[in-house]
Amino acid sequence: MARAAVLGRLTWRVATVAEIRAETAVADTLVFDVPGWPEHRAGQHVDVRLTADDGYAAQRSYSIASAPTAGRLELTVQRIDDGEVSPYLVDVAQPGDKVEVRGPVGGYFVWEPGDPAPVLLVGGGSGIVPLMSMIRARAAYGSRVAFRLVYSTRAPETAIYADELRRRQRDDRGLDVAYAYTRTAPPSARRPVGRVDPVLLAEAGWPADLEPWCFVCGPNGFVEAVANLLVEAGHPADRVKTERFGG
């Protein structure tokens, strides 16, 4: 069991948008200044609350994208067309705008930098976000734990963090990145268009006898399929941690 994640009452804190970066056509990274924000652990999420001027409020949970940093928080939000909070964050929010956040939340889908076990990250779509926090945390801590990322995305242009992953694959020793393009692959792709399958997991993941931690995040159907493949490949169920989005 992971150690306790939250020590006291989680209070709502004012978060001010400091910077916005476009990631894809439908996803932005919002950088927030949050006075008093404690360092999160890589993989955790945060509750976001928006309040209208008549008091109407809406809350959602978002995975944290940044490495643990006191007082600062990055969220990568993909717009859901019929959503209530994500269209505001992606289309309306500007630097200087204020929202409220509460967290960090979640003490299980977390990478512990002191754990020497190798790590396999398998992300589908925006499920890359908490995995990116782990990759950034690994670099920030100077960890040498071996990381392998398998990232499933529809096409090159839908890949979040593509430039940073390219740079980190070159500069972060011990980080390997493999893609599964499910609709359109770039000319440089080493494998044809297709979903994450046992061959890719065998080539780009870890053998079960190395006892890696496996973190799988994405839409439920993706997570269900990948988690089952990992169990079938011999990974014990309690080494496979999942975070699922949507229905």
């Binding site: 069991m1 009452r9 109407y56 809406a58 699922r244």
Partner: protein, 198 residues
């Protein structure tokens, strides 16, 4: 009222039937911390272990032979979604506990796969909780906790343990899986008891 967020109007889908901070969904999202266990009904059993050391068990056939009840209820997930008017079928905990002699105040619920969750025993009796094996007119799917899950809809849905295996009845409260890592020990959605200290 919190800090006003400039330019936010909201879609006003807020429903008076929803607990604070929740939004409506028509989907049935899945939240599981690990892979979905695949269980063999031939080896499946449900147990109740009392604080005095007695152990009661039911095979799958024995469970299904007990009187079943239809349950129509709203469910509320701590991750903010609520789903209204869901239809279930299962055996009331009142039925399973009828012949169990206990003076325990708490239950630690165990699931296949190792998940646990805790709650006061009084929240499992009085027509408030079931071992549910059918959802929306069909056998409960593994992703949603099949073959059987606990259904305690008056608390946040993580208390409704998937792949339920049994109850350990205890004199003292023992935090379960999520309750040990920051989530509220009791989890009443109407009091918005999401996290420790709420």
């Amino acid at each position: 009222m919190g800090v006003v967020t400039r330019g936010f109007g909201g879609r006003r889908r807020q429903d008076p039937e929803l607990p604070p901070g929740q939004y409506l969904t028509d989907d049935f999202p899945v939240l599981s911390a690990g892979p979905t266990p695949r269980l063999d009904l031939a080896n499946w059993e449900f147990f109740v272990a009392t604080e005095a050391g007695a152990r009661h068990t039911w095979s799958w056939a024995e469970l299904r032979a007990l009187p079943a009840e239809p349950v129509t209820t709203d469910i509320h997930c701590v991750t903010k979604w609520s789903k209204l008017g869901t239809h279930w079928e299962g055996v009331a905990l009142d039925t399973l506990l009828a012949d169990v002699d206990t003076a325990a105040d708490f239950a630690l619920v165990h699931s296949y796969g190792g998940y646990t969750t805790n709650l006061p025993l009084e929240d499992l009796t009085g027509g408030q909780a079931w071992v549910a094996y059918r959802y929306d007119g069909a056998e409960l799917e593994p992703e949603h906790g099949g073959p059987a899950r606990l259904l305690v809809p008056h608390l946040y849905f993580w208390k409704s343990a998937k792949w339920v295996r049994g109850l350990e009845l205890l004199h003292e409260d023992h935090p379960g899986f999520w309750e040990s890592v920051g989530y509220h020990n009791y989890g009443d959605p109407w009091r918005e008891q999401r996290y420790w200290g709420d």
